[in-house]
Amino acid sequence: MDGRFDVPTLDQTERETRKRGVVRLKEFGRRHPTVVASAAVLLFLIILTIAAPYLSSDPLDISPRNRLKAPSSEHWFGTDNLGRDIYSRTLHGGRISLTVGLGVGVLATLIGLVVGLVSGYSRPVDAVMMRIMDGWMAIPEILLAITFVAITSASIQNVILAIAIPEIPRVARLVRSIVLMIREQPYVEAAVSIGTRLPKMLLRHVLPNTVAPLLVQGTYVFASAVITEALLGFIGAGTPPEIPSWGNIMADGRKYFQLAPWIIFIPGTFLTLAVLAVNVLGDGLRDMLDPRLARQM
């Protein structure tokens, strides 16, 4: 469709490559508008939270005279019951949410990948592993996470671990199903017949096939982790109050909801926006990487 059957001269190929950068980006944007738009929103949120200290005041600054002030030119998003600036707290809170989302996404995907690869390649391990995964998945994610945080302490590392643990079996099952499918492919049989060793086999033939689905799954894990983190903060089991997160800002606003709904609505809006952007990005990536599936869904 793009003249793949013409044989271009070397000169043409080179010129094409140079031109392709800009054209490609435009073309990409036209073909996958949702991917570009959601990535842009996500990037904007990330920059906003990274630059939080330069864009806003101290999120812990207490000002009793300015308690529960509605949004104004002085406090863009209003203040909470201690007179703390919600704009500043929300921007700083995003750091925790997005860090936890990213941490969980990476951690759960990597561990799940290893478990899934091993499980998909060894039948005895698989039989045991899948029963363990089934049991693991039966325990509600949130209960596992809040219990874990409650018995350890609510540091950021522990929150990441607490949310990653319940996500692992989901990733592992996905990887396992891909491995089982790949194993039956003729090219893998061919590789076996010429005596390819297992580690090389996994690395060269199986791993590359897991990248696209894992990338998609990773975005969903990210979105779910951001929600769970906020949830932990909201019920008072998340990071300690001196570290603002979208969840614990909302928790502070619970008692004052009728008087000052902005304490809940503003971080809630940011939370929703972030989750929405990640989910749309995930759907877009899925459609982009697997057009066969896209036509069905």
């Binding site: 029963r131 363990i132 089934d134 049991g135 693991w136 998945m137 039966a138 325990i139 509600p140 994610e141 949130i142 209960l143 596992l144 809040i146 219990t147 874990f148 409650a150 018995i151 350890t152 979105a223 929600i227 906020a230 949830l231 909201f234 019920i235 008072g236 089991a237 909302m250 909801f257 009728q258 709904p261 809940i264 609505f265 809630g268 809006t269 939370l271 929703t272 989750v275 929405l276 989910n279 749309v280 759907d283 069905q296 869904m297």
Partner: protein, 313 residues
């Protein structure tokens, strides 16, 4: 078919075992002394000793597990550390609001989502389809507690159509019950509905591409009959599966929804217990929720044999 059901039941046993081990070990996985963890940072040494005694933590871990599991099998989930009441009694006291909330949420979600999914698949590619899909993505992305507060603000505080918080039992009348349960169920059911609508649409679209659907059209059946009798029936398995899998999501959502709407059900009980580190209660409720999840998915698996006679293992 009965052979399959029996085998499926037997296959559940090791999974239940894994759940029990996980729930039991959770406390012991924590670094340090479990009794100190349960007692909290401000406990006196004699309190720690009392809790260690009470939880039987002086014994070897396999004996502890053996005792615990034999009690669980006999329906004894232990006693709460703080209220000193049996965990089963605490659960019994709090189960009604949670059960009501879950049931109404499931009903609302199915009644809303299945027709929306069908319409979206039927009108695939049109603006109706796009609207439904946008709603589904939105529903999937708005956290339960955010939508809960939005509904509460709009319908309770502004429009004053519903009470702000609380729960009234159905035994005190249908109208007061519905007044308190509607908003929480909508909030909780939304994400579930989004999931079901998406799967219904996807699964129907796949079936609509099959040859026998073309045959049905060709032999002059009413389009509606083709859609509902031929397509929907064959698309039912993924839909029923997701209804089962989604229960896990619903259980998680219950915990939050109860906090937002101040409903004192099991979700609130577990949050309070976690904050107080009342471990026997956490263990009991976690075990119960996991059991419910396994049971529902077992029923879903068994229902396959009725939905699709081709399935017999």
């Amino acid at each position: 078919m009965w052979g399959y059901i029996v085998r499926r039941l037997l296959a559940t046993i090791p999974v239940v075992g894994v759940v029990a081990v996980f729930v039991f070990l959770l406390l012991h996985l924590a670094p340090g002394d479990p009794a100190a963890v349960v007692a909290g940072s401000y406990a006196m040494p004699k309190d720690v000793e009392r809790i260690r005694e009470k939880l039987g933590l002086n014994e070897p871990i396999y004996i502890q597990f053996g005792k615990w599991i034999s009690n669980v099998v006999q329906g004894d989930l232990g006693d709460s550390i703080f209220s000193e009441m049996p965990v089963t009694t605490l659960i019994a006291q709090r189960i009604e609001p949670t059960l009501s909330l879950a049931t109404t949420s499931i009903l609302i979600a199915i009644v809303l989502a299945v027709p929306l999914g069908i319409v979206a698949a039927w009108k695939a590619g049109t603006w109706i389809d796009h609207m439904v899909m946008i709603l589904a993505v939105l529903g999937f992305s708005i956290p339960v507690f955010v939508i809960g507060y939005v509904l509460m603000y709009g319908f309770s505080i502004r429009a004053q159509l519903f009470p702000v918080q609380g729960f009234v039992s159905i035994r005190q009348g249908l109208i007061p019950f519905l007044r308190t349960i509607t908003l929480p169920s909508l909030a909780l059911g939304l994400i579930y509905a989004a999931l079901i609508a998406r799967i219904t649409r996807a699964s129907l679209l796949e079936v609509l591409g099959e040859d026998y659907i073309r045959t049905a059209h060709a032999k002059g059946l009413q389009p509606r009959a083709v859609l509902l009798r031929h397509a929907l029936k064959n698309a039912a398995i993924p839909i029923v599966t997701i209804i089962g899998v989604g229960i896990a999501m619903l259980i998680g959502g219950v915990v939050v929804t109860e906090s937002v709407f101040n409903i004192s059900g099991l979700g609130r009980l577990v949050v309070d217990s976690v904050l107080a580190r009342d471990y026997p209660v956490i263990q009991g409720i976690t075990l119960m929720f996991s059991g419910v999840y396994l049971l529902i998915n077992l029923m879903v698996d068994i229902s396959y044999t009725f939905l699709d006679p081709r399935i017999h293992y």
